[in-house]
């Protein structure tokens, strides 16, 4: 439920980079991370820093990169870049934009952020979920459960996701303990 937006800039030019950092630093909601000059450590930094937004000079990275965690990517354009490359980005900042326009383009990305804590909703396991949980606790694989209950593996996996979502328990052994504590197991 953080209101701030973590921004990572990847830009080879010091003049441009420092100018942009200067502009963004004035905005309280922007948390500007130490910028990068090139894409050498980009994957690792994104994994560690978990930025919400990348501002990238598209001449450094020709194709839009995939990251393990979701991050919006904005192109910072000041020379000719193929339209096909630019269109891969979530937004574009042109170097000739004025300050407030730059800020408002970036601000857009904060409103779309999800609230991290959801409302409780329905947390009771359904009969089907309880049935599947028991089979998981008995050590059956998704495929075996699917065969036994005559449903698809995909359906079993969906139930498993819902069970973990409702209980917060992730490990197989933990689910076993949950099933026993709730007297779902026979014998």
């Amino acid at each position: 439920m953080k209101a701030s937006l973590k921004i990572l800039i990847v830009e080879p030019s010091d003049i441009i980079m420092e100018g942009l950092v200067h502009i963004l630093d004035e905005v309280a909601m922007f948390n500007v991370l130490p910028p990068l000059h090139d894409a050498a450590n980009l994957q690792e930094r994104v994994a560690v820093l978990q930025p919400d937004l990348l501002i990238i000079n598209p001449t450094i990275i020709t194709a839009k990169t995939d990251f393990p965690n979701p991050v919006s990517q904005v192109a910072l354009v000041y020379q000719y870049v193929e339209p096909a490359v630019v269109s891969q980005y979530d937004a574009v900042i042109d170097i000739r934009e004025n300050k407030s326009r730059v800020v408002s383009i970036l601000r857009e990305f904060s409103s779309t952020r999800q609230v991290e804590i959801e409302t409780a909703g329905n947390y009771e396991l359904s009969e089907r979920e309880a049935e599947i949980l028991v089979e998981i606790a008995n050590g059956l694989s998704s495929k075996e459960i699917a065969n036994k209950l005559n449903i698809s593996v995909h359906t079993v996996n969906t139930h498993r996701k819902n069970i973990t979502h409702k209980t917060g328990i992730k490990s197989l052994a933990g689910l076993g303990v949950y099933a026993m504590l709730h007297d779902l197991m026979k014998g």
Binding site: G168, A173, V177, M180, L181
Partner: protein, 229 residues
């Protein structure tokens, strides 16, 4: 670099900023009672490379502290193995048995069949942690030691290091939730709350430990592998 810890700062200020560091100091071999000395003075007293100490302290404290190849290449890593070993001992000899004792205490107060499940769950967790540490101590550390001494060893590659951290973390997290959500609330409430806190502390400490292994130990061995080849 003012956002992170540096050598001229007072060690006590670091601990004030992040209390968790107090668990990390003994693994570095630093005893309490260091007065108002600077980080670099205390490190010199105990013969710990100050850049290594700062690397670990910063990882422990700042989620956005980035470790790049250069930092790893330039850091004096001669204490890395002894530090990781000391941390393993702290978990196995001190923290985990402490948690186990309180867990058993609570498990003995619930219906026997439930109590036994809890104990079994924790036993499995312990075995997993043990196996993970043992693998590192028997495979990875001796291999690293050879590389540090400039010897090549073709019997092993760090790329086969198995990442089992996440499963170990999941189990500890599950245990915490089971205790505070699903056990009857009237059983030793005070001890249960303390146990949850102990687990949280161990869990966050193990997470930092895993970061040090993934982002310092593994890349460092990779660098040495290239150098020694």
């Amino acid at each position: 670099m003012d956002r992170f810890f540096s050598r001229k700062m007072k060690l006590s200020d670091l601990v004030e900023y992040n209390h968790n560091l107090i668990l990390m100091l003994p693994c570095m071999g630093i005893s309490l009672g260091f007065g108002d000395k600077s980080v670099e003075d205390v490190c010199a007293m105990y013969d710990i490379p100050v850049d290594f100490f700062l690397l670990v302290s910063n990882v422990y404290t700042f989620d956005d502290f980035v470790i790049d190849r250069n930092t790893i290449e330039q850091t004096d890593m001669r204490c890395l193995i002894s530090y990781l070993l000391a941390a393993h001992r702290l978990y196995l000899v001190d923290r985990i048995p402490h948690i186990e004792m309180h867990l058993h205490h609570i498990a003995d107060r619930v219906e026997e069949k439930y109590g036994n499940i809890l104990k079994k769950f924790f036993d499995e967790y312990k075995t997993e942690v043990n196996n993970h540490f043992e693998y590192e101590e028997k495979q990875v550390f001796p291999y690293l030691k050879k590389l540090q001494e400039g010897e090549s060893d073709n019997s092993y590659r760090i790329s086969s290091f198995v990442h089992v951290h996440s499963n170990i973390e999941d189990k500890l997290d599950d245990l915490k939730q089971i205790i505070y959500k699903y056990l009857p609330g009237n059983i030793l409430p005070q001890e249960s709350i303390e146990l949850v806190f102990d687990i949280l502390r161990l869990s966050s400490d193990l997470q930092k430990h895993a970061i040090i292994e993934d982002r310092v130990l593994i890349p460092y061995v990779e660098i040495l592998e290239k150098r020694v080849k």
